[in-house]
Symmetry: C2
Subunit: 322 residues, 2 copies
């Protein structure tokens, strides 16, 4: 997604302010933190979470200054988790750019992530809303608990319930918080706040399901990693779960669901089988269901440019191609 | 220091409640997080920071429930920073117990630290005080910025100003916050809040100076690391600075202050020279000056058991032996 995606136009200027606020978090600190922050922010990314915060907050009449602070807090929290994730996974590239851990020592990378957590918490406190602060710190617990669960989970063993829990922790929780906290600082009733929370949750779930589909359907040259890399790492996602459910005759698939590990040849065959099966379409339908719920939820909001942008954003999420 | 130190008696029961609250932070999360938290908390430690929070808050009339939450937040933040520090330093033991990183993978250790940061922020938010939350997140920025500065500093190069900045970031900032935030949630005027903040700062500075002295004067068998281990790691602390200032004829000392590195034989000789010099006493005098300032600051508080405990605590800090 380009940052110029039409439906994000209403918040393009605000996103510039969010970027500037994020960059300013290194002010008065060690110069190498500025270098790190510049590196991390220049690698771009979609800024979809802060855009979500800004779109919802603007639609509901929140103060622009507070929204920018909140959006920067959320994107910085997201960035901090990515810094530690890439270190733990030993990833050398993210979005085609060198990761921090590929250039810095593990110690410096851990501390830079910690610094970003601290500055994210600082910004969240600057929204001057205790309820926002509470949701914010709870979300960090959920994200980290999810990562720990994944790290400690027996390899290759997962069911549908585990999968949905995992993608909630990994992705949907922060989408939910991006939308929820924007509504919390807006002059609206509790029902509207809850509607927005659910909208964030639903498009977050859809977002991760589509990511997991693209891991099977994307071209290696575009994705930058081998097709089926999740499964190769022992991560059973929704397309694999649907395939396994429908193919009780596929002994490799059954071995996988029972927690056994497969060799490279078995994995490659299974990835191809999943790619060619209707498990992809069924998974896509599930993502579409989440988006439909999100659209239904905001249907009663005043019909203006911002609601339209939220509708377009939701639809874009399921139509993404890499 | 034993947890039964007489001057901490007024808060012994509350410390039990703080421990229970810290342990409960793993509830509802991955079972391995409970294991980690139990391991980290069973290794004990002095609980000096939460005791400081409790003593000051009780003296000033803060709500006991909020104080316990605040004290748990502070100790958990401290624990989180230790988890990442030990990982970065590759330390295998702390307080005679195996560190988390000596038993778990680097990834699991990073994430456990992150989880503790998240729960500490959660607890800080549960004090329902935005100003406390702001001080809390700012303190984390200061601590992490200090660690990064130390990591990136040219080896062996330091002056007095750098030293005081470093020990503020490393130790005094959290002592300051322990005292400051306790006063912030108490029914007292701003002058008293600032007095308590300064008391925390001053005993924190004294605490780290004494730690740095003990690195030279402690017995290896008790300290659990070689005498002069700071200097061996390239860390120039107050006793070394005083020695270097007075010994312009010691070429090793002068080489050190100019950022050159010394070999093992040179370091061992220098450590012995510092141990036998009056640099130890001059450093101790500086720690005593900080404690005297702390005592003067609280002199006007109503003279009761809790003020007495704070006086005893301050004096204990400079009399510590390992």
């Amino acid at each position: 997604m380009s940052n110029n995606a039409a439906f994000l136009a209403p918040v393009q200027d605000d996103i510039q302010a969010v970027e500037a606020l994020m960059r300013s978090q290194a002010d008065g600190h060690h110069p190498d933190l500025r270098t790190a922050l510049d590196l991390l922010l220049s690698s771009g990314g979609k800024r979809i979470r802060p855009s979500l915060t800004l779109l919802i907050g603007k639609m509901l009449g929140a103060s622009k200054d507070r929204l920018i602070i909140l959006a920067a807090a959320i994107e910085l929290l997201h960035t901090a988790t990515l810094v530690h994730d890439d270190l733990i996974d030993g990833s050398l590239l993210r979005r085609g750019m060198a990761t921090l851990n590929s250039q810095w020592s593990p110690g410096a990378t851990v501390l830079t992530g910690d610094f970003l957590f601290a500055r994210a918490a600082n910004l969240a406190a600057d929204t001057n809303s205790l309820p926002v602060m509470k949701v914010f710190s709870k979300t960090l617990s959920v994200i980290v608990n999810g990562e720990i669960s994944q790290l400690f989970a027996s390899r290759c063993k997962v069911n549908r319930e585990d999968y949905f829990k995992r993608i909630y922790a990994k992705t949907a929780s922060l989408f939910e918080t991006s939308a929820y906290t924007a509504a919390m600082i807006s002059p609206v009733d509790e029902d509207t706040v809850d509607t927005m929370r659910r909208y964030g949750y639903q498009i977050g779930m859809a977002f991760q399901i589509v990511d997991d589909i693209l891991d099977f359907t994307g071209e290696q040259s575009t994705v930058g990693k081998p097709v089926g890399s999740d499964l190769r790492q022992g991560l059973v996602t929704l397309p694999a779960l649907h395939y396994i459910e429908k193919h009780s005759d596929d002994t490799d698939a059954q071995a996988l669901i029972n927690g056994q590990c497969l060799n490279d040849t078995q994995i490659t065959r299974l990835v191809d089988a999943i790619r060619c099966s209707n498990a992809i379409q069924i998974s896509q339908d599930e993502a579409c269901n989440f988006v439909q719920l999100a659209l239904n939820g905001i249907h009663n909001q005043p019909n203006n440019q911002l609601r339209q942008a939220l509708e377009d954003l939701a639809e874009y999420i399921v139509q993404r191609k890499l």
